[in-house]
């Protein structure tokens, strides 16, 4: 079974079989989209919330997977091209954590990412089936394309001094 590694600010789509995996979501969000009927799955690892707040005209800024508002429509398009139907697509989310202490919870990158992804999915009329977001630990997310099942793993943090 083929495993595709989705890197940071990256996305991938697969059909019928295989695993899409993204390692180490911190404040970033993993968005897994799936159409049960066509068995088309997509996974994106987004970095920031809103391209319009950051982008300056620059040839060095072309990657739609970096931002929630550009990644979600782009991922949906790629899934439709692979045979998915928009009305069947459901979403599962992971990430948006605050890994570093002393972060201001209301203004942090992770929280803004969570809100941005929820809002763009609502706009796109894609239902969120499950979420494992926020908190303070990094996550690895896998989408099993044959079933649409998503697994989330974290690493154990031992005490610094025992």
């Amino acid at each position: 079974m083929e495993t595709v590694h989705v890197k940071i600010a990256d996305m991938a789509v697969a059909k019928n079989e295989g695993v899409l995996v993204t390692f180490g979501l911190g404040s970033c969000i993993g968005i897994a989209l799936y159409d049960q009927n066509s068995k088309v799955g997509g996974l994106a690892h987004i970095l920031l919330n809103d391209s319009s707040k950051f982008s300056r005209p620059s040839a060095n800024t072309v990657n739609p997977a970096k931002f929630a508002d550009t990644a979600v429509p782009h991922l949906i398009e790629k899934m439709l091209a692979a045979g998915a139907r928009k009305n069947n697509i459901i979403a599962q989310l992971a990430g948006g954590a605050s890994l570093f202490n002393f972060q201001n919870d209301s203004g942090n990158v992770g929280q803004k990412n969570i809100e941005a992804v929820r809002s763009i999915l609502k706009e796109e009329k894609v239902k969120i089936e499950s979420e494992d977001v926020g908190g303070n630990c990094g996550r690895t997310m896998r989408l099993f394309v044959d079933t649409g099942k998503v697994t989330i793993t974290t690493v154990g943090k031992g005490a610094m001094k025992s």
Binding site: I8, G26, G138
Partner: protein, 203 residues
């Protein structure tokens, strides 16, 4: 090392020299905390890499690391400094420095790691101020202990970079006879490099 559209070879050399002096200062400070134990410092590397490849450049993205993160800024530019220690190395460092009777304090261990981040940031910024004539304000250090990939992703997100290519400076350290290793990373905010080179050029 090659020149490319983002940074010339000469500019890369300048950045390496900055890292060399700054991290060199930091290593001296660190060494005195470790009873003058010798600390080796590798030649700084300038990495010009696609954003996607940066988290993986620290080995397995699921490896547990302890990272301290500081932001520094002056009116014309900003940068972040990160000290990344593999978790076992961080544990060894703490055991080495803290007296045994404080061994039950996880809080103390975390404070110590943040202090290490603080020392390295301060030493680096002193060198940078000296070379550019700019005065930097540094944020208090923050500590994160988690997967290397998650830590690096969060650091990149915090810099709010919009560029698809990142430039970062990486200097590897290791403490002789002790198996403690780690890296100091310096990431200029997007748009800051041009300002930095202007100031280095005029000084």
């Amino acid at each position: 090392m090659e020149s490319n559209e983002f940074i010339t070879e000469e500019q890369q050399d300048l950045l390496k020299e900055l890292a060399n002096i700054g991290v060199g200062n930091a290593v001296t400070a660190l060494s005195s905390m470790l009873e003058d134990q010798k600390i080796n410092m590798a030649v700084p590397e300038v990495m010009v890499a696609p954003l996607q490849d940066v988290p993986d450049s620290f080995g397995d993205p699921e490896n547990l690391v302890a990272a301290t993160y500081c932001e520094a800024e002056c009116p014309v530019m900003g940068l972040v400094l990160v000290l990344v220690l593999p978790f076992e190395a961080a544990q060894k460092m703490v055991e080495r420095i803290l007296p045994d009777d404080s061994s039950d304090s996880n809080e103390m261990a975390q404070s110590l790691l943040m202090e290490l981040g603080n020392i390295i940031t301060g030493a680096y910024l002193n060198a940078l101020s000296f070379m550019t004539g700019l005065t930097f304000q540094a944020s208090p250090p923050r500590l994160g202990i988690d997967m290397a990939g998650a830590v690096m992703g969060t650091v990149i997100a915090e810099t709010k970079t919009v560029d698809d290519q990142l430039i970062l400076l990486k200097t590897e350290l290791n403490v002789e006879d002790n198996g403690i290793d780690g890296s100091v990373l310096i990431l200029p905010d997007s748009g800051s490099l041009k300002t930095l080179f202007e100031h280095l050029g005029t000084f």
